[in-house]
């Protein structure tokens, strides 16, 4: 393969990995606080449609990105009110969030179907970006790609090194103890949930503004669920989430590779690949039950009512 082809494939890996990475990082922070929000898919869809609509109507991709983050947060807020304030079952509420995300994004997005939009601008540094292979890969990405890497480092630092991160982990580990020593459990969980929503919104926007700059119904196509699986795969660690997202992004490479070898595999089977891979990976990682249990935030998915 020529350097150009390799570079193009690598770029497509980045494009496939970034939305997964953004959403998974957000969900990771949410889950570290003990909240299981299964509505990732719904939040990504709303982020995708809101980002696309805002970018198209204002002509500014920055407005689009900001709108996507806020739309994701708004969805997360609905989840938080139901699951954290009104103590609804978190699994059911998350499913509801996805169901309504699918319907609402389809409704809101109808006028935008088939409308093209320029892709998110990519960095260009004269000289550096023109380097063969690595040039575009390192110096030719867009804002959200760089942001996703910054988030990996930032979230790692926050959880491992900062006091606020310690408090967040404590809330996810034992909400009763955290309450007993005086931390506002519900408030902290609200913040973590909203942060997760914003990240999922951004992940959705990356699909509709960068991967395929357009809006199509249900365009997230299960990536929200794959992101949820990634969090388990990464055993709630940001750097492993990065590795996991790029592993899945690499499947795009695998698909191209198989076709390149001249196998006449029906396109449907190639499309199955990420879903089957998710199942395989999830099974392999979950096999070690002890390791999963040691790393899972102990209060994950449990409702908390301060009077008990």
């Amino acid at each position: 393969m020529s350097p150009d082809v390799i570079a193009a494939v690598m770029m497509s890996v980045v494009a496939a990995a970034t939305p997964l990475l953004l959403a998974a990082l957000g969900e990771l922070v949410t889950e570290k606080a003990g909240v299981l929000n299964l509505g990732v898919e719904g939040m990504m869809l709303i982020g995708a449609v809101a980002g696309f609509a805002a970018a198209m109507l204002t002509g500014s991709w920055i407005v689009g990105i900001v709108a996507a983050a806020f739309a994701g947060m708004a969805m997360a807020l609905i989840f938080a009110v139901l699951a954290l304030t009104l103590l609804a079952n978190q699994v059911a509420t998350g499913l509801a969030l996805t169901i309504i995300g699918v319907g609402l994004s389809a409704l809101v997005g109808r006028p935008f179907i088939g409308v093209p939009l320029p892709r998110l601008p990519q960095l260009y540094v004269p000289g550096l970006t023109d380097l063969p292979v690595v040039g575009r890969l390192i110096f030719g990405q867009d804002l959200l790609v760089y942001l996703s890497f910054a988030l990996v480092v930032g979230i790692w630092w926050f959880l491992e090194k900062s006091r606020a991160g310690l408090v967040l982990r404590a809330v996810g580990e034992s909400h009763d103890s955290a309450h007993a020593i005086g931390y506002p459990v519900i408030g902290i969980r609200y913040l973590a949930t909203l942060f997760g929503g914003a990240c999922c919104g951004l992940g959705g926007a990356y699909l509709s503004l960068a991967v395929t700059p357009m809006w199509a119904e249900n365009m997230v196509a299960g990536r929200g669920w794959i992101a949820l699986a990634l969090v388990v795969f990464a055993t709630w660690k940001p750097v492993r989430t990065l590795a996991g997202a790029y592993l899945f992004g690499g499947l795009a490479f695998g698909q191209l590779f198989l076709q390149g070898l001249g196998f006449s595999i029906p396109s449907q089977f190639l499309s199955m690949l990420p879903y089957v891979a998710t199942i395989v990976v999830l099974t392999l990682i979950s096999r070690d039950a002890t390791r999963i249990r040691l790393n899972t935030p102990a209060c994950l998915g449990k409702s908390y009512h301060p009077d008990h």
Partner: protein, 506 residues
């Protein structure tokens, strides 16, 4: 001037008045006991002092100034520290991280670790700041809790039932720490229902019953009996049992039992050996985390073990599940009542089906016999005097003591040949505890073998004919209760098997 003064503190929960116009004053440099049965309102009161709960009415004064304590953070700013009965520690975090969470200016972790060791040395609490809490024994965890409070140099320290998880020797060490704090001018509010230790430790006592203050006294001038009567409000009638030398057939034989539960932080049982005969009450002592929970799972069948290592009535039962073991005549009362012994959201009638579905004719041809279950629940309620409106009540709506009476009643009403019961009276008021003890004694007299697993030595000495002690998953050889004493069992509970042997010889 009083360090802390409460006037007319009142707190109501749906259905109960937990505190009713409580007055209390604590002066500097005293150890003040708050005495009362379970459910008397002690925990509710101290939670309000520590800002975890808000009073519905009443006034609080801190060093002469009227205050409202809205949060634990504010309580700590005032100089109040609290060691909870159920520790408020985070298992997956290190000791230093746990301490950092309650300090406003924790500084760097290295710096903090140094300070933790310093405070530990000063008060005789040896601690390794880098260890994870889940690796610590219960006694060590309590030291972390105490050190965490002392880092902030509190002027009032609240201790909620601190010795319930300690061996007698560990408790003595704790008292030394507390006396040192008192000498430095710190006030201590000490909650307990153990009268002997209150006599040994405390300067004054306030007694609560049914949410009200019913008296105050100088513990040194009272007898445990007089304090107990103030606490209970009537004369104490405790059941009594003379140890017997049982000669009946062996109902339970444990021979080389080891577990592999695989659960994180579990204390696996290694090579346990003992047997219980018909008509005998056998006790197993041990502090929390010594393997009692794991032993119980192995006995119940929730965790399978090698078939021959556990025999019920001579039949190998180690490989059988809970229902199959019940068919052999086993009944079992677990430690956790809500969520294991009973399903909170199900009715009492349905909860009889939980352990009776296979052996007691409550299910026929795959269908639950609702009428039979209701009749059984009604019979249990009547026999044990369970305070409930009827068999349709949800298990979760009963108080802890009443639910325990129901569960014990359910298991005993099966007339088992072998009953295993864990922490039978933990958190249960004195009246219910006496009723439960009477039932256990009665069952043994009717010829059943009874195995009591408990952390409460008083209870074990009251009931049992023979005792063994679990420590780190190892079981000591059994001794006759008549031939041993609290000190020796205490040494065994702390793992000092050799010292206990020496005490034996002495």
């Amino acid at each position: 001037m009083d360090r802390l003064k409460l006037e007319g503190i009142t707190k109501e929960f749906p259905g109960t008045l937990a505190n009713d116009r409580v007055d209390l004053s604590v002066v500097p440099g005293e150890i003040h006991a708050l005495l009362g049965q379970n459910g008397a309102g002690k925990s509710t009161l101290v939670k309000m002092i520590y800002g975890v709960l808000a009073p519905d009415a009443g006034r609080m004064f801190w060093e002469g100034q009227e205050t409202t304590i809205a949060s634990p953070a504010q309580a700590r700013r005032l100089g109040i520290g609290m060691v909870f009965q159920h520790f408020s520690l985070f298992e997956s975090l290190t000791v230093a991280e746990n301490v950092a969470l309650v300090l406003r200016d924790a500084g760097s972790m290295d710096d903090l670790s140094r300070r933790i060791v310093e405070v530990g040395d000063r008060y005789g609490l040896s601690l390794d700041p880098r260890r994870h809490v889940h690796d610590l024994s219960v006694g060590e965890r309590q030291r972390v809790e105490i050190a965490r409070c002392l880092m902030r140099e509190p002027r009032l320290l609240i201790m909620d039932e601190p010795t319930s998880v300690l061996t007698p020797q560990e408790a003595d060490r704790l008292f030394m720490t507390l006396r040192q704090l008192k000498a430095e001018g710190c006030s201590i509010l000490y909650i307990s229902h153990k009268l002997a230790e209150i006599q040994a430790l405390c300067d004054r006592a306030t007694i609560l019953r049914g949410g009200r203050v019913v008296g105050a006294c100088d513990p040194a001038r009272e007898s445990p009996r007089s304090m107990a009567e103030m606490m209970i409000g009537q004369e104490l009638s405790q059941p009594h049992r003379e140890p017997v030398e049982a000669t009946g057939p062996v109902r339970l034989e444990v021979d080389g039992l080891s577990t592999a539960t695989g659960a994180p932080f579990a204390t696996e049982i290694r090579d346990a050996r003992f047997s219980v005969r018909a008509g005998e009450i056998f006790g197993i002592a041990g502090v929390a985390g010594s393997g009692q929970a794991e032993l119980l799972l192995a006995l119940s069948g929730e965790v399978r073990v090698a078939p021959a290592s556990l025999k019920i009535d001579g039949k190998p039962a180690g490989g059988l599940g809970p229902a199959e073991r019940r068919a052999l005549g086993l009944a079992l009362v677990p430690e956790e009542r809500l969520g294991r012994g009973a399903v909170p959201a199900l009715s009492l009638a349905d909860n009889t089906v939980l352990t009776g579905w296979k052996t007691r004719g409550l299910v026929r041809g795959g269908w639950v016999e609702g009428a039979k279950a209701t009749a059984l629940a009604a019979a249990i309620i009547k026999r044990l005097g369970v305070k409930a409106r009827g068999p349709a009540d949800e298990a979760g709506s009963l108080s802890g003591g009443n639910l325990q009476k129901f569960i014990v009643g359910r298991e005993i009403s099966a007339e088992p040949r072998l009953l295993v019961v864990a922490q039978p009276t933990w958190g249960v008021d004195a009246g219910a505890a006496a009723a439960i003890h009477r039932e256990l004694i009665g069952l043994a007299e009717r010829g059943a073998a009874v195995l009591v697993i408990s952390q409460d030595l008083d209870e074990l000495f009251l009931l049992c004919d023979r005792l063994a002690v679990l420590y780190h998953g190892r079981l000591s050889p059994p001794r006759r209760t008549a031939d041993t004493n609290v000190e020796q069992i205490g040494l065994l509970m702390g793992g000092m098997f050799e010292a206990a042997e020496n005490a034996d010889a002495a």
